[in-house]
């Protein structure tokens, strides 16, 4: 919920100071409390780097209407207006990727599902959420197994970038089709374990949720409508 609030706030806020404050209060502070600042920074950087590079290149060199020239390389001109706009986008991007990675690092999928169920969400919907999250590592494992099997049969999937691309193609069909083929048996196994029974499941435990944690979460969420109001009233212009 807090991650969603930070993401929405990042979309709404403009300028440089406001997103910086958001990153500090909404991402880095909770990450420091959870002791995951270093890991969060590394993963968020890796995640957002490709997009960040394209944002900088496009905006610095091709910003429409930029007048303050910083650098000229032939017909391409880097402008101060483009640089500032790119910086604003980068800060928003950092806030969003930071919030998503913080959620990933501090929330076990199983905990999320149990908590959703305890709050009255349908077990099936909760299962879909969890199964979707768990599908990624499962498919990565499957792809690694199939790649090893393909290499054992002489497929060259390492070395040059072209060899790697060629090596990917024979992986796609078995990974995707294998996953689809498993669906039927997995469905039967779930049915045989009473998953389709209507009504509430028995929950053995609930994830710990301290008072302090709940207060921090609700403060972040409550800040969201406040931000919308301030932005709408134009009272955040001084942060730009």
């Amino acid at each position: 919920m807090a991650a969603l609030a930070v993401t929405l706030a990042a979309i709404m806020l403009s300028g440089v100071v406001a997103p910086l404050l958001l990153i500090g209060v909404g991402v880095l502070l909770p990450a420091a409390v959870a002791g995951v600042v270093r890991e969060l920074s590394r993963i968020a950087l890796l995640l957002s780097l490709p997009l960040a590079i394209s944002v900088v290149l496009v905006n610095v060199f091709f910003f429409p209407g930029g007048e303050a020239v910083l650098l000229r390389v032939g017909p391409i001109v880097a402008t101060a207006e483009g640089l500032r706009f790119a910086l604003e986008i980068l800060l928003r991007l950092a806030a969003i990727s930071g919030a998503v990675v913080l959620f990933y690092l501090t929330t076990r999928p199983g905990d999320l599902v149990i908590d959703l169920e305890a709050r009255g969400v349908s077990p099936r919907l909760a299962f879909v959420v969890n199964a979707s999250v768990q599908t990624v590592p499962t498919m990565v494992d499957r792809a690694a197994d199939i790649a090893a099997a393909q290499r054992a049969r002489g497929l060259d999937s390492e070395g040059s970038p072209w060899a790697r691309v060629r090596g990917l193609l024979p992986l796609v069909a078995p990974v995707v089709l294998g996953s689809i083929a498993e669906v039927e048996e997995r469905t039967m196994a779930l049915e045989a374990r009473g998953f389709t029974r209507p009504g509430r499941r028995t929950l053995l435990w609930r994830p710990a949720d301290s008072r302090r944690q709940a207060v921090a979460r609700w403060l972040l969420v409550a800040a969201l409508p406040l931000l919308i109001g301030l932005r709408t009233a134009g009272w955040l212009a001084w942060l730009g």
Binding site: Q134, T138, E184, R186, L190, E191, T196, R197, R201
Partner: protein, 277 residues
């Protein structure tokens, strides 16, 4: 009692039925073994007996599957799951993939049934102990070996405590120790009155736990009778099924012309291993 009455089943789009006129009765406390070559119809028979075919798998079925004298067709799947449990050979598809620990995985079925919390805990603890996996209760199921995953899958099924169990090669990925754990757990369940239908390639396991046996050939019942008789039947190897060690050793002893006292000693030794001779 679980009963198949003249069941013929054909998968959707298949040119011919995978089961032909199969009749089978599974009484309380009985363990019935199913053997046969690949594509003989063992897995299909398991799906039909568990009520999953044609309900989930599709296809067409004639004849009746009866549970305590009543057709299973009108029962909802979750009602059936409480009474008939099924376990498949592939542990990768048995696990829910949404649990973080082995404990939660084994508890998954009882939790789904909405049992009281205390019952879920009792059943989960008992199932973990029965399969010797209590020491890995806090481990992540996805990171276990195939054999361990299979033990977790079978434990999760037994935690539901269905009256009837259908097991399709439950020990396919297990080492001898794991297989023995499954054999002992199934024998205990049968002693408590559960009925068990088990399709299995390991005839040594079947010799140890089964009261009756059915051998399938191309979807038809080729042999049926007391476990000791079917497992010693000369026609078994022609059906693509290996004789259990007890039978092979007895034949070797006979071929080597061992004298009666020695044969009797050998028979007694094999009997203590749980093998009928």
């Amino acid at each position: 009692m679980l009963e198949l009455d003249a069941v013929t089943y054909r998968y959707a789009g298949a040119p011919r039925p995978s089961l032909h006129e199969v009749s089978l009765t599974l009484g309380d406390g009985e363990v019935v073994g199913i053997v046969g070559a690949s594509e003989a119809g063992k897995s299909t028979l398991c799906l039909v007996a568990a009520g999953l075919a044609p309900r989930t798998v599709g296809g067409t079925l004639s004849g009746h599957v009866l549970l305590d004298g009543h057709d299973v067709a009108p029962l909802a799947m979750h009602e059936l799951a409480e009474r008939v449990g099924i376990c498949f050979a592939n542990p990768a598809t048995q696990l829910s993939r949404v649990t973080a620990t082995v404990y939660e995985e084994v508890a998954f079925g009882p939790m789904n049934l909405g049992l009281p919390r205390g019952d879920v805990i009792d059943r989960t603890g008992a199932a973990l102990d029965a399969f010797g996996i209590a020491d890995i209760a806090e481990r992540e199921p996805a990171r276990l070996s195939g054999g361990q995953q299979q033990l977790v899958a079978v434990a999760g099924l037994l935690a539901i405590r269905p009256q009837h169990l259908v097991l399709d090669e439950p020990t396919a990925q297990l080492d001898p120790a794991g297989t023995q754990l499954v054999a002992e757990a199934l024998a205990r369940l049968a002693a408590d009155g559960a009925s068990i239908l088990i399709a299995e390639q390991k005839t040594d396991l079947l010799a140890q736990i089964c009261t009756r046996m059915v051998a399938l050939e191309a979807g038809r019942v080729a042999l049926e009778g007391a476990a000791a008789e079917v497992l010693a039947d000369e026609r078994l190897s022609g059906l693509g099924v290996a004789f259990p060690a007890s039978v092979r050793i007895r034949r070797l002893a006979e071929a080597a012309s061992l004298r009666a006292p020695q044969r009797d000693k050998l028979a007694a030794a094999l009997a203590t291993m749980g093998s009928p001779i």
